[in-house]
């Protein structure tokens, strides 16, 4: 079967700015795929090309076995990063409208919209205007809009931003359910722990290029098991100067140390034992968070 999305050497330039610079990407069907990268890296542009909202200057984009375009678009549910609804419209009509734009007749779209609103706890708000809703509720409305007509491919740009933990969980459950029922999901996020928990595969985009991609396991193994979590008592210690240490992330409660290639964790342990009282010393795979920072570097993220 064809991939859900397959992008080949896509290039898109705005004025003098090359937003996407030769991106190639394959998203197999039926998985949850994470698109990560700093702000302005080209995630949204890539997503827009998949939806045929903008066309690449060069390269090819295929979606669900056909060139990106209108007929593919009807099978995609899309939640853009910039949230937007008609503020003066009634909630039910708003969702219904989004359903009809995906090809549904008004009556069936209305039924489906009502069912979703009931399910996500917005049943009583059906006949209220969108502007009367809280931000979180509006985000739910928009999420439902993306789910209308049971899309084969769901593209969610930062679906969790601005949500409280309860609603984050609700969104996550719906996503997992849709995925179980066969939908492929692509979502972008800045929350690396979320991506780590949900995604089978990821692609890291930086400055318009894919700098890292593949299954989460393969990405991690590529970086080796060379991270150490330490917890200790005592201070005044400069971990950075210890043997084999490449970089240190201080989380307050504990620290994550990334070792240089080939460095021996045992040497680090010996060096630590002499200086502080160790409560925890654990050799782990690097977190996605650390891989991200290492790949993208410490430069300001809004380049």
């Amino acid at each position: 079967m064809d991939a859900a999305v397959s992008v080949r050497e896509a290039v898109k330039t705005f004025g003098h700015h090359r937003a996407v610079d030769g991106v190639s990407l394959d998203v197999p069907r039926g998985i949850i795929f994470g698109l990560i990268g700093p702000n302005g890296a080209g995630k949204t542009t890539t997503i827009r090309m998949i939806l045929d909202i903008i066309r690449p200057d060069a390269g090819e984009v295929r979606v669900l076995g056909m060139p990106a375009g209108e007929s593919a678009r009807d099978r995609i549910g899309y939640l853009p990063e910039e949230r937007g609804l008609y503020r003066k419209m009634k909630v039910l009509e708003m969702v219904e409208y989004q359903g009809t734009l995906k090809g549904a007749r008004p009556a069936e779209a209305r039924r489906e919209a009502a069912a979703w609103l009931d399910r996500l706890g917005l049943g009583e708000w059906k006949d209220r205007k969108v502007e009367d809703l809280s931000k979180g509720m509006q985000q739910k409305v928009q999420f439902i809009g993306a789910l209308m007509r049971k899309p084969e491919l769901l593209i969610l740009d930062e679906p969790f931003s601005g949500l409280d933990p309860v609603n984050q969980n609700l969104f996550k459950d719906v996503m997992l359910e849709q995925n179980r029922e066969g939908a492929t999901i692509i979502f972008s996020t800045h929350q690396m722990d979320t991506a780590e928990r949900l995604c089978r595969e990821i692609a890291l985009i930086d400055r318009g290029r894919i700098v890292l991609g593949g299954s989460l396991a393969s990405v991690k193994s590529r970086f080796g098991k060379n991270s150490v979590l330490v917890e200790y008592d005592g201070d005044g210690l400069s971990l950075q100067e210890l043997p084999g240490v490449a970089r240190v992330d201080d989380y307050g409660h504990y620290r994550e140390i990334r070792l240089r290639n080939g460095a021996d964790p045992q040497a680090l342990l010996r060096a630590l034992v002499d200086k502080v009282t160790i409560r925890r010393f654990e050799i782990v795979e690097p977190t996605l968070h650390n891989i991200f920072i290492e790949q993208v570097g410490e430069r300001p993220a809004d380049a």
Binding site: I53, P80, E82, L85, Y86, T100, P106, Q142
Partner: protein, 425 residues
């Protein structure tokens, strides 16, 4: 096609469901009828009062004739319309007049007429009044004075005439104008009738083109600033969105026009069947079916032309403030022909009128003006409509390109050369 219909449906329902739409639609004809009614009412009130005129005649020779002539003007109840009181010039007409001014201010006197020494001198006659805008009264007073002066002059040349004979000598002739239609029939129609009849329709055309154009522009600006554009473009092509919006709002306009036309049609039938038909022939003529059809044709063409341009403005701007500058030339294109209605109605066949009625941006209004005061050759109407339709087609293509790029751009508004570059694609 389904999506396009859905966009049209939303745009249409959103507007037609609003109370303000129905308020505007129903209030407007009511307002028009009300205005006419008030005018009739005012005219009645006006004729109910006698006007007091103070005459300060330095020559002392005009009073008699002036009085006699003015006495012919009667109010509805038969009383004379004017009461003339004569005042001595004394130390000069100006000084005498100044003394009477407070009575004009208080409203006791309608006006003061001063007559200088030399009847043949220029600027010898003056009227001081609180309102000098009432053309009918002014004309009456001027006529009476002229007749009095003529009498004096005739006397000086030894042609003694009675007032009656003088009146017969001076009896004005009236030139009635008839408009010859293509079919060869001639209809009586004066300039005033032609002007006001045309202007009313041109004004409605102007208002609706402007209002609906701005409605389309606002709709697009709203979608941009609400950031809903991207959601929509996840389902629709920009062309579908733009076309749907223009057609949807256009249908709202047509609904409104249909209501107006139906109202006019009913009123027309009612008047035509009533004994008033003769008096109202000018009005009946103004709302003839042929004219209504042309009105609709030019409304629709003008609507597509202007909304496509307003849509482009909406697509490249981020806020209404930003859109102000860009929409100004469009508004000007609409205002100019309206302001020039007088010229085009007076000279519907001039080269200027013919040329301007071929320029697509002005054609909807100017061609309509020409059609309503004379019957231009059919080829001119056809050519004008053809040019309009062609321009609309070109605009739609160009604006579609601008729209596609513009709707997803936020931040700095593109410059006009940039926009034109997009339009060329």
């Amino acid at each position: 096609m389904h999506k396009l219909l859905m966009v049209i449906r939303r745009e249409y329902l959103e507007r037609v469901r609003k109370k303000s739409f129905w308020l505007g639609t129903l209030l407007f004809p009511l307002l028009m009828v009300g205005l006419i009614f008030i005018q009739i009412l005012l005219a009645d009130v006006e004729t109910g009062n006698q006007r007091k005129i103070a005459l300060i005649d330095t020559t002392g020779r005009l009073e008699q004739r002036f009085r006699e002539k003015l006495a012919e003007e009667k109010l509805k109840d038969g009383r004379p319309a004017f009461v003339v009181e004569s005042h001595p010039a004394g130390e000069g007409a100006d000084v005498a007049a100044r003394r009477l001014l407070p009575r004009v201010v208080s409203g006791d006197l309608f006006g003061i007429i001063t007559v200088g020494k030399d009847l043949d001198a220029e600027k010898n006659f003056r009227l001081y009044a609180k309102s000098v805008g009432n053309l009918d009264v002014q004309r009456t007073l001027q006529g009476a004075l002229r007749q009095a002066v003529l009498g004096v002059r005739l006397e000086q040349s030894n042609m003694k005439l009675e007032q009656k004979e003088l009146a017969a000598l001076l009896a004005p002739i009236e030139l009635e104008s008839f408009q010859v239609a293509a079919a060869g029939e001639a209809k009586r129609k004066g300039f005033r009738e032609a002007y006001f009849g045309t202007f009313t329709f041109v004004f409605i055309l102007y208002m609706s083109l402007l209002l609906y154009g701005i409605a389309v522009m606002r709709g697009i600006l709203e979608e941009k600033s609400n950031r809903i554009m991207e959601v929509l473009l996840g389902s629709l092509s920009p062309d579908q969105l733009m076309t749907g919006k223009i057609l949807g709002i256009g249908l709202v306009g047509l609904t409104q026009m249909a209501i107006y036309t139906a109202t006019v049609g009913i009123v027309r039938l009612y008047i035509a069947a009533s004994p008033l038909a003769g008096d109202w022939s000018g009005t009946l003529d103004a709302v003839s079916p042929a004219r209504m059809v042309y009105f609709l044709v030019f409304f629709i063409l003008g609507y597509f032309l202007y909304t496509s341009l307003f849509a482009a403005v909406g697509a490249v701007c981020n806020s209404e403030q930003e859109a102000q500058n860009l929409q100004t030339p469009l508004v000007m294109c609409l205002v100019i022909p309206m302001v020039a209605t007088f010229f085009f109605v007076a000279n519907p066949d001039s080269t200027a009128a013919v040329v301007v009625s071929m320029i697509p941006l002005f054609a909807p209004m100017v061609m309509f003006m020409r059609i309503s005061v004379l019957t231009p050759p059919f080829w001119q109407i056809a050519l004008s409509i053809l040019l309009l339709a062609g321009t609309i087609w070109l605009f739609f293509k160009a604006v579609g390109r601008i729209f596609r790029i513009g709707v997803l751009m936020y931040g700095k508004r593109p410059t006009v050369p940039e926009i034109l570059r997009w339009a060329r694609g």
